[in-house]
């Protein structure tokens, strides 16, 4: 639970005035400004371990996974946890690994595994990434698992007994989004590319690897090691257009999305030219990154090099891993954050006038600290609820003994924004879990305990999962849950601006981003000391605008397209309030 700084100051003032010279009564100490606790074990996620399928043969896919995230699969307003289990790469590998494991949020800080109850226990796949959205507009969250091999789409259905429980039915092939059997999907993005109200799907393809084509690689001294990505060709990425009847049609080439450089690992959506049509960025490993601008006619035009986001400072293609996009300064213009390899800076590309981007990695003060780490998941969130977006970076190497001097297990970065787009890495000073070296991959965000601040879920390759509960003091907060009507039910593509007396914040509701991960779809606006959001502007995916005023801090609001504010729930939420809200 957090207190707003406004309340904290008032509390301290009262204590000082009221007590005079007498001994002050015992008061609970204020929580630290920034504090996170790893509560995975005690929350019920402790027995999860990702299985990378390694058998000592240094197979290329071993080091890349795995994903996970937050999905409210039962629609109770409490974010549940979905984790990609991994699996085996050869017939002699581990055979009993569930492709996906689902942990239901018990609304009391604990999770209960329900993988079996929801019909996922018997699913086997060498999974990589996770995306979740209501692709069939029936009001619940469906799951998409990218994999080495066919991708899987799990439609979320009520169980046949009418008990209210949920069951996932795999419909990847039936829906036309399984992709080729010999493929390697990484991150996926649900978005309404053509704004017809039905969510389309972009699936990033990584490398053309199979056991049959595996190549043995060695270090200079002759020791076996993982091959560099350049050893293998690129796997194709795919674009699937939603037909509105539960099926999709593959239209990658028709949409102008075929033939670009590949080895794609992450994808993030934003409307860069503010024409209402969703654009997106694709991050590639060792190839130029891509910026697809939506032409509004079912096609996209690639502008990565021209816009300046494709390459590093000297025009070099870097080893891109994860991506996120957000407005992090007072210019109002978005910046693209790209996690790169060790000895490469995290890319920070801010859009300038005319659609051109400038790399502000060094100027943002993010670049230099990121040189010694290999950044996979990157995630923008307001860690301290002070009105600006901070950056969490999930680090971990792919080589057990990196030549460039980096470590295999690495602590994360937490770059705190000064409000002007310059950052300070505070991970070391926070200590605790932020000093813990990990082989981290995905990071996802959600307020899983509904206390108003944003918590994190971090996966490790061939390791455990970490649930980082945000115990920071923090400022005030407004959380915004959107529900579409005219457009897609998830309201993906909605653009929301919150104005207070001192700050203007922008959020874009979307899937994708990060690395192989799925974050919650509720938007969090940190308000610092502001008592309310004076004006909240919502641009729905179809372009309609709605305006809300005087939304008080410390609440979560549920806004439905065309219907307005449906519920307003005080934070932190207790079980009874949550029940009423639904």
């Amino acid at each position: 639970m957090h207190l707003s700084s406004f309340s904290s100051v008032a509390l301290v003032a009262v204590v000082m005035i009221g007590c005079g010279g007498a001994s002050p009564p015992a008061t609970p100490p204020l929580p630290p400004l920034l504090a996170f606790s790893d509560v995975a074990q005690r929350a019920g996620l402790g027995d999860f371990r990702h299985e990378n399928g390694g058998e000592g043969r240094f197979w290329f896919p071993e080091q890349m996974g795995a994903g996970g995230g937050f999905v409210d699969y039962d629609g109770d307003g409490w974010e549940d946890v979905v984790l990609v289990g991994g699996g085996r790469l050869s017939p002699t590998g581990p055979g009993a690994v569930a492709a996906l494991r689902l942990f239901r949020n018990d609304r009391d800080g604990l999770f209960t595994e329900v993988t079996n109850e929801v019909g996922l226990a018997a699913v086997r796949a060498y999974g990589t990434g996770l995306a979740a959205a209501d692709y069939d507009n029936d009001g619940d969250q469906d799951l998409y698992l990218t994999a080495l091999g066919e991708n899987l789409l799990f439609r979320n259905d009520p169980d046949s007994l009418g008990s209210g429980a949920r069951i996932f039915v795999e419909v990847g092939q039936q829906a036309g989004v399984a992709g080729p059997a010999a493929a390697w999907g990484s991150s996926a993005l649900f978005f309404d590319a053509d704004r017809d109200g039905w969510l389309d799907l972009y699936v990033a393809g990584y490398a053309a690897w199979s056991l049959a084509t595996d190549i043995d690689c060695f270090r200079t001294g002759g020791e076996a090691d993982y091959c560099p990505p350049a050893t293998y060709g690129s796997d194709a990425s795919y674009f699937y257009r939603n037909n509105g009847d539960g099926t999709f049609t593959e239209q990658t080439a028709r949409a102008g999305l075929a033939g670009s450089p590949g080895k794609s690992l992450a994808v993030a959506e934003w409307d860069f030219n503010e024409d209402g049509w969703p654009d997106f960025v694709v991050v590639n490993d060792g190839e130029p990154d891509l910026l697809y601008l939506n032409d509004g006619d079912g096609t996209f035009t690639e502008q990565g090099v021209k816009s300046g986001i494709a390459l590093g400072e000297h025009g070099e293609a870097r080893a891109g891993m994860g991506v996120d996009i957000g407005v992090v300064d007072t210019t109002g213009r978005p910046s693209i954050f790209v996690g790169n390899f060790s000895s490469e800076m995290i890319g920070v590309y801010r859009q300038e006038r005319g659609g051109w981007f400038v790399d502000r990695a060094a100027a943002s003060r993010i670049g230099q600290p990121s040189l010694s780490t290999l950044a996979f998941g990157v995630l923008l969130f307001d860690a301290d609820l002070d009105t600006d977006l901070d950056l969490y970076v999930a680090n971990g190497h792919v080589y057990l003994d990196p030549l460039d001097g980096a470590a295999y297990r690495q602590p994360p970065h937490l770059f705190i924004n000064a409000g002007d787009g310059t950052f300070t890495d505070t991970a070391d000073s926070i200590g605790g879990v932020f000093q813990q070296p990990m082989v981290a991959r995905a990071v996802a965000a959600a307020d899983y305990d509904r206390d108003g601040d944003v918590d994190l879920l971090v996966t490790e390759n061939d390791g455990p999962v970490h649930l980082l509960r945000n115990d920071s003091r923090g400022g005030g907060v407004l959380r915004v849950r959107l529900e579409g009507r005219a457009g897609n039910r998830d309201a993906l593509g909605a653009h929301v601006t919150a104005l207070t007396a001192t700050a203007r914040q922008t959020r874009h509701l979307r899937t994708g981003s990060g690395y192989l991960s799925q974050s919650e779809k509720v938007l969090t606006f940190g308000l610092d000391a502001a008592p309310q959001v004076d004006t909240l502007l919502v641009r729905w995916p179809n372009g309609d605008m709605e305006r809300y005023t005087g939304l008080p801090a410390g609440h979560e609001v549920h806004l439905v397209e065309g219907e307005g504010l449906v519920t307003r729930t005080a934070l932190p939420v207790n079980r009874a309030v949550a029940h009423v809200a639904r």
Binding site: G354, R365, G405
Partner: protein, 440 residues
């Protein structure tokens, strides 16, 4: 830390060469002053000065060295400088035969093998130096440089820290700073660069890398201050011009960046990064059409770069394969990077000395980049080995003609016809000579 723009692999090599050049200049002086020849040679090879009043084992060995060994060593050094690595190695072996206790000999072997990018044999040579003289100056510096070139800054740093004899030179301290910077130890890097500039305030490389450190830290004002100082010390250095241009671009000075980057791109037409950043500057200035043209050129150069990188990756673990070096050199030549192409073919030839055609190709490349003296030297060596090669006579004649020595050109082309009377190009070249040169 990413490489200073344009100071990437090729420039890094250049950079190390520049350090060697400083030593080599000193040695040239030594050759002119014969009385001090042996001592000066030793200093040059080691790259360092004397270590105090007491004689080291190497200094003692130098005093006692067989004069024939010294002569072999001098000749080996000369062959090494001229890029005749097989000859240099043979001469070093001869020197070792006459003076097995002289650590200067394996040290030179280490340098030759490093120039041939044969890092493991080079390491063995340096270890042989340490067995003879554990305090030999420059060994750990060179071992560290090899590790740095392999992309192992931590290993490089560990080796640099063992260096004693050359530890306060600007070149050493600059390398030390780069290794620290690569490992994210910015404070140590800053200290090393400050000491480098204290040791030699006219060292442009130290200024440039110090500027890079500030750039990485996001302090563009300081970055530009240092980079401009470096450029002022070496105003014709196009790589430094490029670095300043990129820093101006990152700092938002698009017009200033354009001017610098245009100069760099025009001066280095094969420089992909200069074209790429010039295109970005033009786009930022709103000159999209011009930017698109430059970026298209950059795209072409990028294709070359990918081919170059492909061979570099293969060479990283197969540097003993001469054919890979030939392919690498071919890719470099296609990108217009002729100096590096010469280096690649020189290594290929060193690995397979009997491959005489390579000598001819190296000479042709030298000619292509305008180094007629070196080309002439190569052709003459070839003809000493086998004077019946009409193509080499043809090329030799071309060198003479380019120098305006038409009589010598006529003589060379006529010799080519003597060995191949139907040699069409020799006939054609002869017919194009000025009349006076054609009819003696």
């Amino acid at each position: 830390m990413p490489a200073v723009g344009g100071l990437d692999a090729p420039l890094l090599y250049w950079d190390l060469r520049s350090m060697n050049d400083r030593h080599d200049n000193a040695k040239d002086a030594g050759r002119r002053f014969m009385p001090g020849l042996l001592l000066v040679l030793a200093l040059v090879v080691a790259g360092c000065g004397s270590r105090g009043d007491s004689l080291s084992s190497t200094e003692q060995a130098r005093r006692e060295a067989d004069p024939q060994a010294v002569a072999f060593l001098l000749n080996a050094q000369q062959a090494y400088e001229a890029g005749f690595y097989p000859d240099a190695l043979m001469l070093a072996d001869s020197a070792a035969h006459h003076a097995p206790a002289l650590a200067d000999v394996p040290f030179l072997r280490g340098r030759i093998l490093t120039a041939m990018r044969q890092y493991e044999p080079a390491r063995a040579a340096y270890e042989a130096v340490l067995k003879l003289d554990p305090d030999y100056p420059g060994v750990y510096l060179n071992l560290g440089n090899s590790a740095y070139l392999r992309g192992e800054p931590r290993e490089a740093l560990a080796l640099y820290r063992k260096e004693r004899g050359a530890a306060e030179t600007a070149a050493y301290l600059t390398q030390l700073g780069r290794a620290y910077a690569d490992l994210g130890e910015a404070d140590s890097a800053r200290s090393a660069f400050e000491r480098a500039l204290a040791a030699d305030s006219t060292n442009p490389t130290a200024y440039l890398w110090f500027g890079q450190l500030y750039e990485d830290a996001g302090d563009f004002d300081e970055a530009l201050r240092y980079s401009r100082k470096g450029l002022a010390l070496s105003p014709n250095n196009l790589n430094y011009t490029y670095v300043v241009g990129v820093q101006l671009l990152r700092n938002g000075d698009l017009a200033g960046a354009e001017a610098m980057l245009r100069k760099a791109a025009e001066g280095m037409p094969g420089h992909y990064a200069a074209h790429y950043n010039l295109g970005q500057a033009l786009n930022g200035l709103g000159r999209a059409d011009e930017g698109a043209r430059i970026l298209a050129r950059a795209d072409t150069l990028l294709g070359h770069q990918k081919e170059i990188t492909r061979w570099e990756n293969l060479l990283a673990t197969n540097s003993h394969e001469p054919m890979l070096w030939v392919n690498y050199g071919t890719a470099l030549r296609a990108a217009g990077r002729l100096g590096e192409a010469v280096e690649a073919l020189t290594i290929a030839h060193a690995l397979k000395p009997e491959w005489m055609e390579l000598q001819n190709n190296i000479a042709n490349l030298l000619l292509e980049r305008g180094d007629t003296t070196a080309a002439l030297q190569r052709y003459e060596v070839l003809l000493r080995t086998d004077p019946t090669q009409p193509d080499v006579w043809l090329n030799l004649g071309t060198v003479y003609a380019l120098a305006g020595n038409y009589d010598a050109a006529r003589s060379a082309w006529e010799t080519a016809l003597q060995y191949d009377p139907e040699h069409a190009e020799a006939k054609r070249y002869l017919s194009q000579l000025p009349r006076s040169a054609r009819t003696p």
